[in-house]
Every structure is written in C-alpha cells, then in structure tokens.
Amino acid sequence: MNSWYAVLNHLPAMLYGLRFTFLIAIVSLALSMVFGGLIVSLLRSKSASARAIGFLYIQIFRSLSPYVYVLLVYFALAGATGWKMG
C-alpha cells in the first residue's frame, strides 16, 4: 500500500496537470466551434465544390484517433514547415 503515498506526494503536480487538461479541452472546444462553423457554412453552401470540400473534411478528420493527430501536428507539420511547436 506504500505506493499510494507516492501518488499522494505528487497530488499537487497531478492537480496542476488536471488544470492543463481542462485548459487544453476548453481552448480546443473554442477552436473546434470556429472550425465547425466554417464547415457548416461550407456544407450549406450552394456551390457543389464547397459542399464536397466540407464533406471530405469531415470524412478525413473523423477517421483518425487523437494520438495520430498529435503525431501529425507535432512531428509531421513541424518537420515539413520547420515550425517549432510547444
């Protein structure tokens, strides 16, 4: 049962981490609303090509797990553009 002491000792660090989790979730939600709004406007557009772009965007981006996104953004995008992300 001693292992629980190690967890309790690190409780402040874990709570600090939880704060980051919430922060990431809130910022991501806000950004997703902006992107989502744009996609809805594409889907409701009169232009067939705009609707096709909206449809493709949804089909492509809902196919991947968050883990793949993180790798794609952090390594692939950084490797391709040279943009060093935190």
């Binding site: 089909q59 492509i60 196919s63 797990s65 883990y67 793949v68 794609l72 390594f75 490797g79």
Partner: protein
C-alpha cells in the same frame, strides 16, 4: 519542402503488416468487448439491486476513462500490482475490450428497451418459456437493432488500436515512428499512415452503411 516518399515505398510491407495488426487488435478487442458488454447488460437488467449497481458503476467508470489511460493501466498497472506480465498485443486487446464493453452494454440495453413489453406478455400468454421468448421473439429483433451501432463501436475500436504504438507494439503508427526516427522523414511517414487509416476507415464506413441498408430492407420486407 523536399518530399521523398521512396523511403516509405521501400517500407510498404511494414505499413501493411502494421495495418493488419491494427485490424486484428480491433476485431479481437471488439469481440471480447461484445461478450463482456452483454454480461454487463444482463447485470443491468437483473432483479438484484447490487448487480444492477455494479453494472451501472462499471459502465460509468469505463466510459469516463480515456483509451490511453486504460492501456497504460492494463500494461503497467496490472503488471506491477498483480504481477500479470501481459505482452503488448494482449494489453491492447484487453484495453479495447474493456472500452468497447461499456459501449456494447449500453447498446444492448437500448436494443432490448426498444422492444414492446406487449410482445413478451403475448409470448407468456402463449405458454412460451422465458428461454423461448428470448430466443424466438426478442433476440432476432434485438440483433437487427444493435448491429448498426455495434459496427460503429468497431470503427471506434479500430481508431483506438493505434494507441498500441505507445507500448511498442509493431503496428502501423509504430512503423511510422520508427521510420520517422531512423530516416528523419516524419512528414512522409505520418502522412502515409494518415492516408492508410483514412482509406481503411472509409472502407469500414461504407461496409457499415451497406449492412445498415440491408438490415433496413430486410425489416421493410
């Protein structure tokens, strides 16, 4: 930007093997998850309050945990606490099974709830046993209701199987990570993985749509 996909093409068999592993983990985890989910549903439909509570708590806890945490808990947590030295593939299959069982349990519950109670009463009035009511009246209808959402759960399982790379299982993402580190071609490696995953997901989604349409047609007939 200098793109070189020749390295990826040279490693193509590794990618395909990785994709095969992902599909295998998803299928195995999903199959076990369906069985556990059905047991969990039986618990939630039990007359015993305790069994119902256990089933409810299980579903709520599992649904609240991210897949990443479940996998780490199975692979590292079970090994250190209970001395269960699970291999990477065993861990990912168990983690997927736990995750999908919670979804499957809720799907079975919805499926059985969608059937009119009058049908059970009619079966009883005809003198059928509980087993025969379940086998001949309820089960065929429930299967038709639960198959489409269960197939969607399989798609979720497939996406979840990519987390296996975290515990060094040689699946698709792991192959890409390896190529990315050794050849320093992260963009090409991860883009190839994304293309493969998207193509597989599109095929799976199409299959789900086809099965749904077939089921609707058979219900209409």
């Amino acid at each position: 930007m200098n793109l070189d996909f020749s390295i990826i093409l040279a490693q193509w068999p590794r990618f395909l093997w990785g994709l095969g592993y992902d599909l295998y983990f998803a299928f195995a985890g999903f199959a076990i998850g369906c069985v556990v989910g059905f047991i969990s549903y039986l618990g939630s439909a039990s007359r015993s309050k305790l069994t119902r509570a256990i089933s409810y708590v299980y579903v709520q806890i599992v649904r609240g945990l991210p897949m990443y945490l479940l996998l780490l808990w199975v692979y590292f947590g079970l090994a250190t606490k209970f001395g269960l030295a699970l291999t990477g593939p065993q861990s990912i299959i168990i983690a997927i099974a736990i995750m999908s069982s919670a979804f499957a349990s809720e799907i079975f519950r919805t499926g059985y709830n969608s059937i009119d109670v009058g049908q059970i009463e009619a079966g009883k009035a005809l003198g059928l046993s509980d087993y025969r009511i379940n086998r001949t009246i309820l089960f065929p209808q429930v299967v038709r209701v639960v198959i489409p959402p269960l197939l969607s759960v399989f798609v979720i399982c497939f996406k979840a199987s990519t987390y296996a790379a975290v515990i060094a299982v040689p699946e698709l993402i792991y192959a890409a990570q390896d190529i990315s580190l050794n050849q320093y071609r992260p963009f090409e490696a991860y883009i190839s993985v994304a293309v493969l995953l998207i193509a597989t997901m599109l095929v799976l989604s199409l299959l789900v749509k086809m099965i749904e349409t077939r089921l609707k047609e058979s219900q209409g007939a």
